[in-house]
């Protein structure tokens, strides 16, 4: 009888251990961790964009960006500082955690006017680069159905590999596969697949750094494998928790420019 009890206890413990070991994190949970990763109350940074076309010639774009997230709305304002013909153009967006479509405005100095723009520009190229407006924002996890494919080690980092299929069937890509560093919840690589099943674009994170204990991607390259073009974005002058006024993410600031 005593032996029987020991066997039963061993079975229960064994079953418990087995259940615990197999209760892996889901793809959705990974992407929610990425989405809710600490990114500070607000952030500002200078972005430099180098766009390389199929012939290898390059063009430069410079942006000063401010972002603020209160958990329900992410406000972002971008001031284009170069080249000269787009200088002082600014772009304001409100992105909602509940998955609502973004609200977006653009200030065109040539018109001296702030214009509301339709939020379906998300698929369009951002300033002629290989990034889309959607890539420049934070994609809400509810926009895709996520599946954890496997785990991989890349450059010494243990990564989750997650496949994400857009809920919206009109999306410009069929699926993405993301490599997310375990426990840091920051991406290392992302591939965008076309409807034909080919990798159409590939995002590679070249450098990330910690500022105020917050991970920031400081150098990344998006390659368009179909067009043989690429765009590299580098980020400097990164600062968090700036003292931004309540009126910062408004029409007023769009006209003033990147002055705090």
């Amino acid at each position: 009888m005593k032996n029987m009890r020991t066997v039963l206890i061993m079975l229960v413990i064994g079953l418990f251990l087995t259940t615990t070991l197999t209760a892996q994190i889901t793809g959705r949970q990974v992407m929610e961790q990425v989405y809710s990763r600490d990114s500070g109350n607000n952030m500002s940074a200078n972005l430099s964009m180098t766009i390389t076309n199929a012939r290898g010639s390059t063009r430069e774009r410079s942006i000063v960006q401010f972002r603020q997230d209160d958990g329900t709305v992410e406000n972002k304002i971008m001031f284009f500082t170069a080249p000269a013909d787009v200088r002082n153009t600014s772009f304001l967006s409100y992105s909602y955690a509940d998955g609502r479509k973004d609200d977006q405005w653009i200030y065109l100095p040539a018109l001296s006017r702030v214009k509301r723009i339709a939020s379906d520009k998300t698929k369009d190229s951002f300033m002629g680069s290989d990034f889309t407006y959607d890539d420049m924002g934070v994609r809400h996890p509810s926009a895709d159905t996520h599946t954890l494919l496997r785990e991989e080690v890349i450059d010494g980092w243990n990564c989750y590999v997650v496949e994400s299929v857009p809920v919206d069937s009109s999306s410009d890509f069929a699926k993405t596969i993301s490599w997310i560093i375990k426990d840091e919840w920051i991406g290392l690589k992302k591939e965008f697949y076309s409807a034909k099943g080919n990798v159409a674009r590939r995002l590679v994170i070249n450098e990330s750094a910690r500022f105020d204990d917050i991970w920031v991607i400081t150098n990344m390259t998006m390659s368009n494998l179909e067009k043989n073009t690429s765009t590299r974005i580098t980020m400097d002058n990164v600062s968090f928790n700036n003292n931004l006024s309540a009126n910062f993410f408004t029409e007023r600031q769009m006209k003033i420019g990147p002055r705090i």
């Binding site: 063009r59 430069e60 013909d85 409100y94 609200d103 723009i117 339709a118 520009k121 369009d124 190229s125």
Partner: protein, 416 residues
């Protein structure tokens, strides 16, 4: 070089030196150089050849900004022109801004139409073909904005009247007052309202800037920026002089913009109260009465994208209350109802280096239009070459009456 031109150069040079001397790290100089050439189809000639330099100097203090926007212009047949489009100082407070000086003020949601956007007069010397920003003239003004959350309250005081600039007598854009066949009507110089406190213009606006909808309501007590004919003086059997004047009127209006799915809806409307109009009686000789009428202008517009192409359509409506035949404006007969449509389409190609766009103004009665297709090629960052056509279609109406001015143009712009 004329004394006046020399004086202007001296003033601009002094301003440049003053601003650049403020503090190198807080001063920014940017600008644009443009060469524009237009070939007129009807005359087979180079009708327009313009060189423009436009500079903007911006100086920043801790809570202030100085902006000076001088320009130099050399036209086909006019004297070289030096001027200052804007020169103002901003003072920024936590919840308020104050702007003092010569400034161009742009209101409303309309594209290519001026409904509530009547604070700054216009430069119409090239009809409406000038770059959008250059159509607005700066006015000496004090502008104050107060911000309360999503609401902005704006007040403007313009102490000195500045009229809209009209084409010169020799300009291809000058139109004859063709009101009665066989009678030549010659507009006479018009006196501007005296620089007096009672001749000030005032405007106010309340604005809401929100995620779902943005709107504004405005009001003002203004001058007509273009003159009306106040009387006709016969000078011969078939010639009369048109005496002109500027008149007062009040205006109330508003605008809104909102996104409905993938479409942005814009709307704007204004009522001009007791606006002075000239009413001509075609007797022998013809005579003019000045009457005050309410006028309504309204616009509904949609912006949307399709396959990456930006598109915009607008319907603009005008109505003159208590209308009678013979109401004229700028020497042209008006109708009780007027309907104008605009359509804009733009797309970029080749990594955003090539931009194709077309803007169409279209009037239904009489049928006439202005069609403006163009291609812009970015040679390198900040250097653009644009080629296009300004096609006036019809034989009468706002655009058709310029049927002989259809032209092809090429413009080189260099931004720095």
């Amino acid at each position: 070089m004329q004394k006046r031109t020399k004086f202007k150069i001296l003033i601009i040079a002094m301003i440049l030196l003053t601003v650049t001397g403020l503090s190198a790290k807080d001063v920014d100089l940017r600008g644009m150089v443009r060469s524009y050439t237009g070939f007129r189809f009807s005359e087979q000639d180079i009708a327009v050849n313009e060189q423009t330099i436009d500079l903007t100097l911006e100086g920043w203090g801790d809570m202030t900004r100085l902006v000076i926007n001088p320009y130099a212009y050399v036209g086909t047949s006019s004297e070289p022109e030096l001027g200052i489009r804007e020169a103002y100082v901003d003072i920024f407070f936590d919840n308020a801004d104050l702007r003092v000086g010569k400034q161009a003020i742009i209101w409303g949601q309309a594209e290519g139409a001026f409904i509530t956007d009547i604070v700054s007069p216009r430069d119409m010397r090239s009809f409406i073909l000038a770059d959008f920003r250059e159509i607005r003239k700066g006015v000496p003004a004090v502008k104050a904005d107060y911000y309360a959350g999503s609401y902005t309250f704006e007040g403007i005081w313009i102490p000195r009247f500045v009229p809209t600039s009209m084409p010169g007598k020799d300009s291809m854009w000058m139109q004859d007052m063709d009101l009665k066949p066989g009678v030549t009507i010659t507009p006479q110089p018009v006196d501007q309202p005296a620089f007096d406190l009672k001749n000030s213009e005032i405007f106010g606006k309340m604005q809401y800037f929100g995620p779902r909808i943005s709107w504004e309501v405005m009001g003002g007590y203004a001058w007509t920026d273009t003159p009306y004919i106040s009387s006709l003086t016969p000078t011969g059997p078939s010639t009369v002089d048109a005496n002109q004047a500027y008149g007062r009127y009040k205006v109330v209006g508003g605008s809104l913009s909102t996104a409905i799915g993938p479409v942005v809806l814009r709307s704007e409307a204004a009522v001009y109260l007791d606006k002075p109009f000239s009413v001509i009686t075609l007797g022998s000789p013809p005579s003019i009465d000045v009457e005050n009428h309410h006028q309504v202008q309204a616009l509904a517009g949609l912006d949307w994208g399709l396959w990456g192409i930006e598109m915009s359509a607008q319907y603009i409506f005008s109505y003159i209350h208590d209308f009678k035949d013979g109401v004229i404006e700028q020497g042209k007969k008006l109708t009780e109802f007027d309907h104008t449509f605009t359509f804009r389409m733009a797309d970029t190609f080749l990594d955003d280096r090539l931009t194709a766009k077309v803007f169409v103004y279209f009037e239904a009665d009489p049928l006439n239009a202005l069609i403006r297709p163009s291609l812009t090629w970015s040679i390198e960052d900040g250097v653009l070459i644009e080629g296009g056509v300004e096609l006036f279609v019809g034989s009468e109406g706002t655009f058709g009456s310029y049927k002989d001015n259809s032209l092809a143009f090429v413009a080189l712009r260099w931004y720095f």
